[in-house]
């Protein structure tokens, strides 16, 4: 992995950034799996998107500007997703009066 395309060309800060990215993503996964508050689950999804952004920026030091362009589009999609997701949470809250994910079982068997 020393051909300039592996992680070894990143230097120490880039490698730390990749580790931080992995840890933040895992914390996000834990949050999504362990919490039932829909808003906190949604925030954990934002955390996972941010972790992916850190990886993209770290690799953009190695491969050129495309990584940062991808981060730009990820942020645009995240903004759209946050707006629609929060609107769905508000619509669900109007119906059930709670944001507890275990109470929404209309699509479960």
């Amino acid at each position: 992995m020393s051909d300039g395309l592996g992680v070894s060309g990143l230097g120490t800060p880039g490698l730390i950034a990749l580790f931080v990215s992995a840890i933040l993503f895992t914390i996000g996964v834990i949050g999504v799996l362990l919490r039932r508050n829909a808003i906190i689950v949604f925030m954990c999804i934002e955390l996972m998107l941010n972790a992916a952004n850190i990886s993209l920026v770290a690799f953009s030091r190695l491969h050129g500007i495309e990584g940062q362009i991808f981060v730009f589009f990820v942020m645009a999609v995240a903004a759209a997703e946050a707006a629609v997701g929060l609107a769905i949470i508000i619509a669900i809250f109007r119906h059930y009066e709670v944001v507890d994910l275990d109470r929404f079982r209309a699509l479960k068997w």
Binding site: P13, G14, V29, N53, S60
Partner: protein, 174 residues
């Protein structure tokens, strides 16, 4: 100094993320998520991604987090009167999946000893271009050139999300 500052940002991000996931109150979760975004913005800054650092602060730390706060206040959820953690079985299941996941991610990283300050051709060309065109120009040129069509489609996506949000949040007339 650079390394110390970078490690401080990294540690802050991880610590704030752990605190964010464990808070009962959604409002404190939002506050600590903002801390995470500040710390990651610092990391972006130190990884030569100045424009990304700026829009990460403005878009994530500012706009999206305020949207979350608005929804929490609108639905009056800002008090921690119910524990929303899953039971022990769900906890064990989630923890096992998370540990496996972290194992896979870290396994792909360890064993690759970092070279001293990175000097790949692409990275050097990026730094030279940033010095010549400015930190905004180096992002803007491909964005409005090579990726122009993608930018247009993103605009359509944002329009669709606006329409969808209004449709979802509007009270039904029935």
């Amino acid at each position: 100094m650079y390394d110390f500052l970078f490690q401080t940002f990294a540690a802050t991000a991880i610590l704030a993320a752990i605190i964010m996931v464990t808070r009962k109150n959604p409002v404190s979760s939002v506050i600590f998520l903002v801390v995470v975004f500040f710390a990651t913005s610092g990391m972006f800054l130190m990884l030569d991604a100045h424009y990304i650092a700026a829009i990460n602060l403005i878009l994530y730390g500012g706009a999206i987090m305020v949207l979350f706060l608005f929804v929490i206040m609108l639905l009056n959820l800002g008090h921690a009167d119910w524990s929303d953690l899953r039971g022990p079985l769900g906890g064990m299941f989630g923890g096992a999946i998370a540990i496996g996941f972290l194992g896979v991610l870290v396994r792909s990283l360890v064993g690759n000893t970092p070279a001293t300050p990175s000097a790949t051709p692409a990275g050097e060309a990026l730094r030279a271009a940033a010095a010549e065109q400015g930190v905004i120009g180096v992002v803007a040129r491909p964005l409005f050139g090579e990726y122009f069509m993608v930018l247009q489609v993103t605009g359509v996506l944002l329009l669709a999300s606006i329409v969808g949000t209004i449709l979802l949040a509007r009270r039904s007339r029935g």
